[in-house]
């Protein structure tokens, strides 16, 4: 674990030093990435550590956001004097209370039933929120403004970014420390076998409620940070979309590794920032990535990294880069083909294009990747095929080669199951 601390220090320095070099748009994307990271880490405390898959974590994220907005309004109107930097605490408190209440009921059941109860509770909130105007501000939601504090007026995105960074880093540190405490270990025992701990003197239900409430506390803080950053929120924050997104982040990042969900959340948030500007199909791409990761690296990106760390003494590092590069190259071929295909469809099936077709009866050329393409020409559709087929062949060959290298090292075959992409490669 010697490499861990310097790595984290380096990352922290980058997180402090780099954002000022970018504009407000990137800074705003980074704020969202930080918040998503905290949300995913909080979710994974329940999922990865406690073994409870919540499909309704948007509820606690949202409760946290609204609690902070109410407090911000109270400060704004002068009823209370709470420093802006402490606002997210209200989100945590709201998440805690909400989590204790919901967790008490949800954790009475395990597995699918638990997931469904959490989903139902979040949906309930989603459908009630627009009608409870006093609390959630109706369909428009609540808005407020950040008040200056000690000379910081929190007017720029950069200031908000730094405030968010401090909160997220502190919370992540606490969440990591949690895994090292006796209760953190008990949480993992609960995940592995919630039945057995009862026969070892622990009340499983109480334990689950506490784990649930700690998770929702941090989800509430994340929601509070979101409210503070946006200065507004409405009932849509409770939507299934938000609940599903955090599940997606966590699985793609890898729930078995503490930093997995953080990696997943950061990548997806920034991916969304970059790609959503370029295409309407970005959610489709996000879904594709999710499916691919689940199929070929079910332990996620974090799981892949962890497998390399675990096997670092056995892996032939000098011989690995070439097949990895080839695998990546094949992957690029396949991705280009898929992107070409999807983007062509997006163009041709768009309302605007179809209107032209309806008016003129012709299928004009469309522009993609800096060239013009005729949608009725076979050549156009041969392009993705020509990219895709060799891509598949290259990827399969490279994956088989990598698989060999992982398997070939010593007798400890079991652990190589976690090897990257290889299981799909033969």
């Amino acid at each position: 674990m010697r490499y861990k601390l310097p790595l984290i220090a380096l990352l922290l320095i980058a997180l402090v030093a780099v954002p000022p070099l970018f504009g407000g748009g990137v800074q705003y994307a980074l704020v969202n990435a930080l918040i998503a990271s905290l949300f995913a880490a909080a979710f994974n405390l329940l999922m990865g550590q406690g073994g409870m898959l919540s499909f309704g974590h948007a509820a606690y994220f949202g409760i946290g956001a609204f609690a902070v907005l109410h407090l911000m309004q109270a400060v704004e109107y002068g009823y209370m004097g709470v420093p802006t930097v402490l606002l997210p605490l209200a989100g945590g408190l709201a998440g805690l209370i909400g989590g204790l209440f919901a967790g008490y009921f949800a954790t009475m059941r395990a597995g699918v039933y638990f997931s469904l109860v959490t989903l139902a509770l979040a949906e309930l909130l989603f459908s009630l929120a627009p009608h409870w105007e006093g609390i959630f501000g109706g369909e428009a939601g609540l808005s407020s403004m950040r008040m200056p504090w000690l000379g910081f007026n929190f007017g720029t995105t950069l200031e908000v970014y730094y405030l968010t960074l401090v909160w997220v880093v502190l919370c992540l540190a606490v969440l990591y420390a949690y895994t090292l405490t006796p209760f953190g270990r008990l949480t993992q025992a609960l995940r592995d076998n919630s039945q057995r701990i009862r026969y070892m003197g622990y009340n499983a239900h109480t334990t689950k409620v506490v784990v649930f409430a700690i998770s929702t506390t941090f989800a509430g803080i994340a929601g509070g940070l979101m409210a503070m950053s946006n200065e507004t929120a409405n009932y849509s924050i409770f939507s299934t979309h938000i609940s599903a997104e955090v599940v997606l982040y966590t699985f793609v990042g890898g729930s078995t590794v503490f930093f997995g969900p953080i990696i997943g959340a950061s990548i997806f948030t920034l991916f969304g920032f970059v790609v959503s500007g370029a295409t309407n199909a970005w959610l489709l791409y996000q879904g594709l990535i999710f499916v691919l990761v689940m199929l070929f690296a079910p332990k996620g990106i974090g799981g892949l990294i962890q497998a390399h760390i675990d096997q670092r003494h056995r892996l032939p590092w000098a011989r690995l880069p070439l097949p990895y590069a080839v695998l990546a190259g094949g992957g690029v071929f396949m991705s280009l083909a898929v992107v070409f295909f999807i983007q062509s469809f997006e163009h041709v099936l768009s309302n605007r294009y179809q209107a032209v077709v309806a008016r003129t009866g012709e299928w004009p050329d469309y522009h993609l990747f800096g060239a013009s393409w005729d949608p009725l020409s076979p050549v156009t559709w041969l392009v993705p095929l020509i990219l895709f087929v060799p891509g598949v062949i290259i990827v399969r060959k490279a994956a088989a080669r990598i698989h060999e290298m992982w398997e070939g090292q010593g007798a400890d075959v079991e652990k190589s199951e976690a090897a990257p992409a290889t299981s799909g490669g033969h």
Partner: protein, 253 residues
Amino acid sequence: MTRNDDVVLAVRDVTKSFGGLEIMKGVNLDLCRGERHALLGPNGAGKSTMFNLISGEFPPTSGTIELQGRVISGMSPEAINRAGLARSFQITNLFARLSALENIRIGVMARHGIRFNLLRRVSRMKSINAESMQLLERVRLGHRADTPAGDMTYSEQRSLEIGMTLATGADVILLDEPTAGMSREETAYIVDLIREVTTDKTLIMVEHDMSVVFGLCDRISVLVYGKILATGTPDEIRNNREVQEAYLGEEAA
């Protein structure tokens, strides 16, 4: 036969029905301090139900169960465990992704009342770790301390299972078929281990293997169709005609 003050576990007229079906039909059983007691019986006799009743999985329909003079029937499994009774399971029932040492440590933590501690690093709790390691060595798994329980061999897992049962510090130990699915050698090994680690405990175990029971246990109770047919020393049981007919006879034939 038993002096009353020496009885640590007393099962009194316990019945248990599931729906209309009466599985336990008025069971009486006394467990004396320090004895090793075996529960024999054909499949479906109610041995597992009996263990589940004693350990709190579900309450009896009628009758009482007393542990050290205190009524435990109707209490939750965790409360019964805290009262001083621990059980193992017929099917391996561990924390698969935690290391062998951690599996034990969960029990040792409970024994010291460390349940909701979020303020200390578990790796720095010296006495807890030392005690866990000591216990792991007693079940001869010291060399596997860092191995995830799920990666251990079956017989190692069975040993760990016994270690976990001991870890909470209970005086009364219930072992549910500790040698199930084991080879002769493995069985001999685990029996030897059980004898060693239960020296100053009170043990009741479900077991199918006659040689195990006759060699290890001080007394045997034979359970048939939800009733205790006979209780006695191995010799008494061996020579009991009813038992021979109901159970042993079948095997001898």
